[in-house]
């Protein structure tokens, strides 16, 4: 993506976010207190053209467009950034399966690593059908989604399956078979509703199997790997926002007879926040420069992603310290960045499982 395109995209999204802060973004963050998801948001974002970047043929290889979108949105609302990234990932999988872009939100288990998928649902072969039971928890967008996409890997008889469930399909008895229950209260990312899915002896229909076999494995695991860059971009957006607000506050607040950024202890804290922010920004931009659309990220890049996940909550915690007591109050939003940062640690799977998996691949 050239500089000009990047600037236009960034400015467009910044203008939209600033214009809709009261209308959409605040409403989104209040979702868990008042569980009414803004229905029209999907269409608004679709008009911006950011929900199907990876589905549209002209832009399907533009990973940097998705990352830039994620970064800019995350500076205002990481929850919104996550919803948009998830929608793009779903779009990418549908494009690989030769299907149309979805007309509503798609739920995708973004808090789980491929190593974890097989342990949630148990498969049984009954009458030549595959029947699934079990629980899959904490799936983003599940309470509001019209459709659900699940990677069902390592099942007996039919390994590596991607299914696509339409909740509007009359054949789907979602009340009894694909039960979904919203998770009422979470630490962060409160604007991105999450839900628990329970499958009760569900026969997967043929039309729901949109990809199978080795190709399915390759497409899904490559997408999950590339998604680490999108999550890096979201984390970078959170840290940038935390630093920018801390800097602004420190330049205005008086304590001990001078503005607080003149105190050397504050200079140290701000400088560390700035340094971490700058390095995190460079990390995902650097990865994008070398990443090809058909490839997974390499081990070093994965290591960067894991480190950033681990450190972000500590960095945003320091962002709160700069504000003092005000940093703990909802009105200043610094506490929200901290909560969102912590929850972002678990995007795409448990960090320890990802670490061990990364090492195991290398050791093998």
């Amino acid at each position: 993506m050239d500089q000009e395109t990047q600037s236009i995209l960034r400015e467009t999204l910044e203008d939209w976010c600033n214009a809709h802060k009261e209308q959409w973004l605040k409403e989104l963050e209040a979702y868990q207190k008042n569980p009414t998801f803004p229905e029209a948001l999907f269409n608004e974002l679709q008009k911006l053209g950011i929900l199907d970047i990876l589905h549209t043929p002209e832009t399907s290889r533009a990973l940097d467009l998705v990352a830039e979108t994620a970064y800019t949105l995350a500076r205002y609302s990481p929850s919104l950034a996550l919803l948009v990234v998830q929608q793009n990932m779903a779009g990418s999988l549908l494009a690989s399966a030769g299907l149309d872009a979805p007309d509503g939100w798609v739920a995708l288990p973004l808090f789980d690593h491929p190593q974890e998928w097989q342990h949630y649902l148990k498969a049984q072969k009954t009458n030549n059908n595959l029947c699934y039971s079990g629980q899959w928890t904490f799936i983003p967008a599940l309470p509001i989604a019209k459709k659900l996409m699940l990677p069902l890997f390592h099942t007996p008889e039919e390994p590596n399956l991607l299914i696509f469930v339409d909740y509007a399909d009359a054949h789907v008895k979602y009340d009894s078979e694909y039960q979904r229950k919203p998770v009422e209260h979470t630490l962060g990312l409160r604007g991105c509703p999450v839900g628990d899915l329970t499958l009760n002896h569900v026969d997967v229909l043929e039309k729901q199997k949109i990809m199978t076999g080795a190709r399915c494995t390759q497409v899904v695991t490559t997408l999950w790997s590339q998604a680490e860059v999108y999550m890096l971009a979201i984390r970078s957006g959170i840290l940038q926002s935390s630093y920018a607000h801390a800097q602004k506050y420190a330049a205005q607040r008086y304590q001990g007879g001078k503005i607080i950024q003149e105190h050397t202890v504050m200079k140290k804290m701000l400088s560390e926040l700035y340094r971490d922010n700058a390095s995190l920004y460079e990390s995902w931009r650097g990865i994008l420069m070398s990443l090809k659309p058909e490839n997974s990220i390499n081990d070093g890049q994965m290591g960067l992603a894991l480190s950033s996940a681990e450190k972000l909550s500590g960095q945003t915690s320091n962002g709160i310290q700069i504000f003092g007591g005000n940093g703990y109050m909802e009105d200043y939003e610094q506490e929200r960045r901290f909560r969102d940062a912590k929850q972002c640690e678990f995007l795409l799977g448990h960090p320890q499982i990802k670490s061990i998996s990364l090492w195991q691949k290398n050791a093998a």
């Binding site: 789980d112 904490f138 630490l187 007879g257 007591g325 703990y328 109050m329 901290f338 912590k342 678990f346």
Partner: protein, 499 residues
Amino acid sequence: MSQSKNQSIFVEECPPFAKAGVLPKEWSFEERYPELAYLAKKGVSGYTEMEHYYNRIIEFTEGYIAPRALEIDLKVMKDPSYVPWDILEKACEYQLFSGFFPRITGGGGMPFISYVINLEVIATHCVGLANLIGVSGLAISCVVATMNTRLIKYIADLISENERKGKPILLSTCLTESGAGSDAEDSEEFEKANLKTFAKKVKGGYVLNSNKVFISNGSLADLHVVFAFSDRTHLAESSLILLVPNHSKGVSCARNEKKMGQRICPASEMIFEDVFVPDDMVVCLDRKASTGILLANVLGATRSGVGGFATGVAEGAYRTALAYVRKSQMLGIPMEQHQWVQLELAELCRRAQMSRAIYLNAITAVCYKGLLSLIDSLTLGKDAPEWLMKMPPVKSLSQAFFDAPAMTKFANWLGFQKMPESERNIATAYGDVAKVSCSDLAFQNCQQAISLMGKEGCRHANGAEKLLRDVKLLQIYEGTNQINMLDYVKKRLQQQFIN
């Protein structure tokens, strides 16, 4: 991609801690506080007494707080005006508000260490509730530090007598202003701080005008302990403490802040508009003892108490993670059978233990050398039966004892002349270290507990995310940790160079 059949790369076979469904037992007093047991063995009295209070608080927290902490957090989120008065009324039965007052003042005569241990144990389940109870202790400590024995007795009577009737009396400490946070706690910074509170001397008292923010218990308090100034050009020398009943004309609560955590304890903006405070509710200081000394005396004690809160949270994080690990699987194997998981749990437990050692060390220092050494040594009437303490002649005598102006003079001498500044500085330095170290350890524990639990750590129902939201405030109030460390430089490091 296929699952490796070689399970040994991922999993070390470790035996589970116990059979499924077996709950960890509560530690005995000696297991949890071995340093106190050692002190008792060396001849320190009160071991049995401390153990008694410990068992009582375990009974209270297990019966009334542990089962409801998460439910209360949700209720307050939905209805910020909700207060669990039933729990506070139950706390009266356990003398949690007056327990540490000396018997001669009508209190329970509990050792101060036991009071802080009580708060630690409560904080294991809900640090917001510990704060709600403990912040009254902060307010009382401010008054105690002035050595105004008449007003100390007044507050002690107010709390104790109502507590016997099952009515909790809450106090607030009104110190912070919107333009002055941490610098409102350091008298050396007063002249540079943007302090606006003003108490104008009038006939019969003072007229107070003030706008205080982030006041814990503000909207619930029956009595406000307000820091004010009567001369804007000489703040440190003109500092006052005013006792203002909540029902006084001109007192109002503008709003309660929407906090990230510790929601059960409101942080209020309190407005005092032309509030008349009569002379007998004004705690004037001996001008040889400035507010700086007062704050040093108080904060040394109360920051050690914050260390106790933090230790409770650190312990809570460990227990929450343990409970989750015992019932959950990872990659198809019970979590507790992963060796790395067991090491993580050991880390959590280790930090809680370290935190406990630090704050107890600080509390014993404060009880030995600081403000609390005076309260701790006031054992008059300690072992007297309750019926005797209630007898009218005994009550009249003790009232006369505390009301006598000579008593206040004597207490002032004891507090400010007999206790040199270097000793007070030691106490404050210990408090600074306890507060900073314990809050940092607790924060690390909460972070690590959630990291261990993964995405489920972010679910409210599992308890860990509430701990993380709650613990962050401990690094901020009573001065941010950074400010506390700057204070430590003054009180400890610089003292090395003073002869």
